[in-house]
């Protein structure tokens, strides 16, 4: 049983999203007896050392063989296990595209694919380890639920929720170690239901993953300029919370922010959802654009992509002033 104490929440934050997943994993066999975890040579990086020590017969390190990992996980799901498969998001998705399409999209097998360090957080290793297209690919598949938690508390909640779903799930983990805390205590995490973290009448900022924190900070900066922004944590990209998106249409401007390409990500999902709506506000999509940057540390890459809070606030402010 996981306790959402302030000390545990601080611990998860210190460990980062990968370590927080590992802590959540420790409790999974309590509710899902047939939980197994597969990893492509990143057992330690996935925070799974303690899980391996506690449940040595439930961990399968397949080596650097991600495509095989998906196939093995799918077979285990077919046999009634609840398999979580972990590796870097870039390898978990793009490298395994065919296996994921067939096993998770077509066969609808309830594999829980955990994409570690999505976005830029391990960008110091170069574009090979940047994962900026994973949501675009996973969104194109039928059946797959996509979860994108905002902090480490939400990561724990999302991992527990994923285990309970009968569907295939892509759990996209962003952020690094010392991941700032947004959810300071236990909260209700309902798959497919966005969370309003801040109210505001002028603008709706819909953010996902690591960008929720930056959106909150950007909203504070905008308030200093006289613009009031609502901030939504869209922790589930698929299925999208249509009610929340419809409600956002009452604002003058919708902004989506994500640590992902502006093409095909959560922003794309919102735009597609609103495409046939005859009356809707303009939509500013913020995310990674253009060519892959060179290797760099996480703060540098966020700044390079215009995804720091002041940059987000600046883009929103300029756009709002141009439009209204």
């Amino acid at each position: 049983m996981i306790d959402f104490t302030s000390t545990n929440i601080r611990l998860w934050s210190r460990l980062g999203s990968c370590g927080a997943f590992g802590q959540a994993a420790l409790s999974l066999p309590e509710t899902k007896e047939k939980t197994v975890i597969l990893t492509a040579d990143v057992c330690n990086f996935s925070g799974l050392d303690r899980f391996r020590a506690s449940y040595p017969d439930r961990v399968y390190n397949v080596g650097i063989a991600e495509q095989n990992m998906i196939g093995i996980a799918a077979g285990m799901a077919r046999e009634g296990f609840t398999p979580f498969a972990t590796t870097y998001a870039a390898f978990a998705t793009m490298r395994c595209a065919d296996q994921i399409k067939l096993c998770m999209g077509y066969m609808n097998l309830p594999v829980k694919l955990v994409g570690l360090s999505a976005g830029f957080s391990v960008g110091i290793l170069g574009p090979t380890h940047m994962s900026l297209e994973d949501v675009a690919f996973m969104r194109a598949l039928p059946n797959v639920v996509i979860l994108s938690p905002a902090d480490c508390t939400a990561t724990v909640k999302a991992a527990l929720a994923a285990a309970q779903l009968a569907a295939p799930v892509y759990l996209r983990l962003t952020g690094s170690m010392n991941n700032p805390i947004i959810y300071k205590e236990d909260f209700e995490f309902e798959v497919g239901k966005a969370i309003e973290l801040r109210a505001g009448d002028d603008i709706a900022i819909i953010a996902t993953g690591s960008m929720v924190l930056h959106a909150l900070k950007a909203a504070e900066l905008l308030e200093q300029e006289g613009l009031f922004a609502e901030v939504l944590d869209m922790h589930t990209v698929t299925p999208l919370d249509m009610e929340a998106v419809e409600k956002a249409c009452a604002k003058n401007l919708i902004v989506t922010v994500e640590e992902h390409s502006v093409i095909g990500g959560m922003g794309g999902a919102v735009a597609e959802a609103l495409a046939l709506k005859p009356s809707r506000p303009p939509h500013l999509l913020l995310g990674a654009r253009g060519a892959y940057p060179h290797a760099g540390d996480y703060p540098f890459l966020l700044e390079y992509s215009g995804l720091t809070a002041p940059q987000i606030a600046g883009r929103i402010f300029e756009t709002y002033k141009e439009l209204f």
Partner: protein, 78 residues
């Protein structure tokens, strides 16, 4: 509660051990003080003393005794 008591309690809480086993404790001397346990200790100390430990100090916190020395930097005396 004195700082000594708060400090000892943080170790007991982080590693689920008795006070009598705390004072000579060193990193990785018991299974609970692994890398995750280490961050659990950091979280417990930060909560207890309302501080944020610097990365170098987190790495340097190799024993019960060393931790006390490091906390002096944060104005915590024993």
């Amino acid at each position: 509660m004195t700082n000594e008591e708060k400090y000892t309690k943080a170790f007991m809480q982080a590693f689920d051990i008795d006070a009598e086993n705390v004072r000579t404790l060193e990193f990785q001397a018991i299974p609970a003080w692994d890398s995750v346990g280490h961050m659990g200790l950091v979280a417990a100390l930060e909560e207890a003393f309302d501080i944020m430990l610097e990365p170098d100090d987190i790495v340097d916190m190799s024993s019960f005794a060393r931790g006390k020395e490091l906390l002096a930097k944060y104005g915590i005396t024993f």
